[in-house]
């Protein structure tokens, strides 16, 4: 009974209910909604946000915030494109170089946050300007005009995608590769956050950085590493996007910043740090993703106007959680008062 009560109090529980409700409502409104293939496609369309939000969760648990990840998507995409088409490198070498470059970008911002003590929001705001600017400059090095995007990546044999494009378009056991990668990353993140010492340290730093420092944790290094991780995840998302769309462009993912933060926050992660879970983030990004897929299909909402429902839900959810929390606290006090 007590375990059940504890379950009800968990934020993830509400998210699961919400997700199920979405399926029930949308499914009954339009049976076409329940086709597995289209649901998977909708997740694939939203995969960048899903992947990056996993690792931004780690950043936010330490009390930081990362609003530069979206600009790193475009940066890695264009680096891969230019290295492959204009420098003539093997595409996989280009991918590795792009991921390393993203890691350096993340490390740079992380360094300023952790070692110079600048507010993370400011640094990553500067980073988002800087990295999207760099992406534009790099796209200028290419023979292809910037607005067109570099295309023609390898390779398609008949109807099946192989080599680089297999990442974004291929299927394994009937499930798109991107979703497999997402699943692997989820497992990896859960393991990092909930099963390793590193994950414990993230929570500790989020709760009280000074206490963590005094208990012998190299807090600065840990904080910096979270920014590297989120940048690398953005690089991964950029690679997948490039492979899926068959085009490398400097402005890929430019509008994802707020979507990523929304997913993390809706998942129950506190932006002041110390609280949050990967499961919550995953559920929240799925909720938004399904909402964006279901509303136009079932209720004819214009695809341009999907910000409104997402915004309403975010506002209602955080308000509801805050009010419920305050109610719980006040009832706690009442109990104590009556006991006296």
């Amino acid at each position: 009974m007590k375990a059940l009560k504890k379950l009800f109090r968990r934020w993830e529980f509400f998210l699961v209910i919400f997700l199920v409700l979405e399926f029930v409502v949308f499914g009954s409104a339009n049976p076409k909604f329940l086709r597995v293939n289209s649901i998977m496609t909708s997740i694939v369309n939203y995969i960048s946000v899903c992947i990056i939000s996993l690792f931004v969760t780690l950043v936010m648990i330490t009390g930081g915030i990362d609003i530069q990840a979206a600009s790193i998507i475009g940066l890695t995409s264009i680096i891969e494109g230019v290295l492959w088409s204009d420098a003539g490198l093997n595409i996989w070498v280009a991918v590795v170089i792009a991921i390393v470059a993203a890691a350096v970008c993340g490390a740079l911002s992380g360094f300023f946050v952790a070692y110079c003590g600048v507010q993370p929001m400011v640094v990553t705001l500067g980073g988002s300007f800087l990295y999207s600017g760099l992406a534009l400059l790099i796209s200028g090095m290419s023979a292809t005009p910037a607005y067109q995007g570099i295309s023609g990546f390898p390779a398609k044999e008949g109807k099946t995608f192989v080599d680089f494009r297999f990442l974004g378009k291929g299927e394994l056991l009937g499930i798109p590769m991107q979703i497999w990668i997402y699943l692997v990353l989820i497992v990896l993140c859960v393991w990092i956050l909930h099963r390793t010492k590193y994950g414990e340290r993230l929570y500790l730093i989020g709760v009280n950085q000074q206490a963590a420092e005094y208990s012998g944790i190299n807090t600065r290094l840990v904080i910096m590493s979270t920014y590297v991780l989120s940048a690398v995840s953005a690089a991964l998302a950029g690679t997948l996007l490039t492979s899926n769309m068959n085009s490398a462009k400097y402005n890929h993912g430019s509008g994802y910043t707020l979507a990523i933060i929304t997913a993390v926050v809706l998942g129950g992660t506190l932006n002041t740090g110390g609280k949050g879970s990967i499961l919550g983030t995953v559920l929240a990004s799925l909720i938004i993703c399904i909402l964006r897929y279901g509303l136009p299909l079932c209720f004819g909402v214009s695809t341009q106007n999907l910000d409104l429902p997402v915004g309403i839900i975010l506002v209602l959810v955080v308000l509801g959680r805050e009010i419920a929390g305050q109610h719980m606290i006040s009832s706690l006090f009442k109990k104590r008062g009556s006991a006296r």
């Binding site: 400011v122 300007f129 200028g140 002041t272 341009q304 106007n305 910000d307 915004g311 975010l314 506002v315």
Partner: protein, 338 residues
């Protein structure tokens, strides 16, 4: 000498020096830049960002943030355009802009200050909400083809090539500055941002102060929306997208601390001029506008890192001074008194 030293301690002074340095460097790169009209144009184009920046400065000073101002600007711009299309008067437009901005401010303020939702999250939700409203108001179409008096005032020059709107904006900056530094209630903003618990203890209502900050922020964003419509005479549904980040960057450049309790309006206004004139300066230096974001990013990061390092240094220096004065022989008594 001391007076000059004091002058440099004023936070916005360093941003003004920075702006002048930027102008000077551009002037060295291309002598044609240093004409009156070029420089005044840099200020004129900053009108919208200045309005947004001083609005959000109120919120940032209380230690919160508002990322919904870009959307608010878009909404009020679209509404202004629609009213202009139907032949409404400018007074009506301004009234609607201010009312809508204030309504958004009340919504944000109640959510953040009353219910205690983290401000980034709540205003993020508001951002999505208002972006959606823009689609509903405009039917997803670009609002354009409106003329009349609003188009006439859009680029009207008042005197010496200063546009009417920029002159009015400067007036608003001055009023905001005086409010913030000279009046009792104005000082509450900084007090709440610096130490909300302490402010509460001395009888300042944290809720009311934050609510007013959000309302002011919304109103300024609303007026900026009017300026947007008047200036460009074409409002797309994505109008104002990303402006919030530029406004925040302007505040940071102007020496306003994002953790609250530090900074002033003049700094924010100067920061807005820096942010909006970068693209113009790059043209004169001879770089393509592609460099715009890169330079902005580098500048922002360098400034905040240098600022935070010098602050840390000055804290350590003062600490060491105190320590020295205590341990120095014969100074023990003085140390006790201190």
């Amino acid at each position: 000498m001391n007076k000059i030293k004091d002058l440099f301690k004023v936070r916005w002074m360093s941003s003004l020096v920075f702006l002048l340095l930027l102008f000077l460097i551009t002037g060295i790169a291309d002598h044609n830049f240093l004409t009156y009209s070029n420089i005044i144009n840099c200020f004129n184009t900053a009108t919208m960002y200045t309005l947004l920046a001083i609005g959000i400065a109120f919120v940032i000073m209380t230690g919160e943030i508002d990322v919904s101002i870009g959307a608010t600007l878009g909404l009020t711009a679209a509404m202004t355009g629609l009213i202009a299309q139907s032949g409404g008067s400018i007074g009506k437009m301004l009234l609607i802009c201010v009312a809508v901005g204030a309504a958004v401010g009340v919504f944000n303020g109640v959510g953040v200050a009353f219910f205690g939702v983290p401000s980034l999250i709540f205003t993020l939700g508001t951002n999505g909400l208002i972006r959606g409203l823009i689609y509903i108001v405009t039917d997803g179409r670009t609002v354009e083809n409106f003329g009349g008096p609003i188009a006439y005032y859009g680029n009207k020059e008042l005197f010496a090539q200063i546009t009417l709107y920029y002159a009015l904006t400067i007036l608003l900056v001055a009023i905001a500055h005086v409010l913030l530094t000279r009046t009792r209630k104005g000082k509450y903003f900084i007090a709440v941002g610096d130490n909300p618990g302490g402010a509460n203890l001395v009888g300042i209502s944290v809720f009311r102060t934050k609510l007013i900050a959000y309302i002011l922020c919304g109103v300024f964003a609303g007026i900026a929306g009017y300026v947007f419509a008047s200036k460009y005479r074409q409002v797309m549904t994505v109008a104002g997208n990303g402006y919030e980040m530029t406004a925040i960057a302007a505040c940071v450049l102007g020496g306003i601390s994002l953790s609250g309790g530090l900074g002033n309006m003049v700094g924010a206004a100067i920061g807005a001029v820096i942010m909006s004139s970068i693209s113009r300066l790059l043209v004169f230096i001879g770089l393509p506008s592609d460099y715009n974001n890169t330079i902005t990013g580098i500048m922002l990061i360098v400034i905040v890192v240098v600022d935070s390092l010098t602050q840390r240094r000055s804290i350590e220096m003062s600490r060491r001074k105190r320590l020295l004065s205590r341990t120095a022989p014969g100074a023990a008594k003085g140390g006790d008194e201190a």
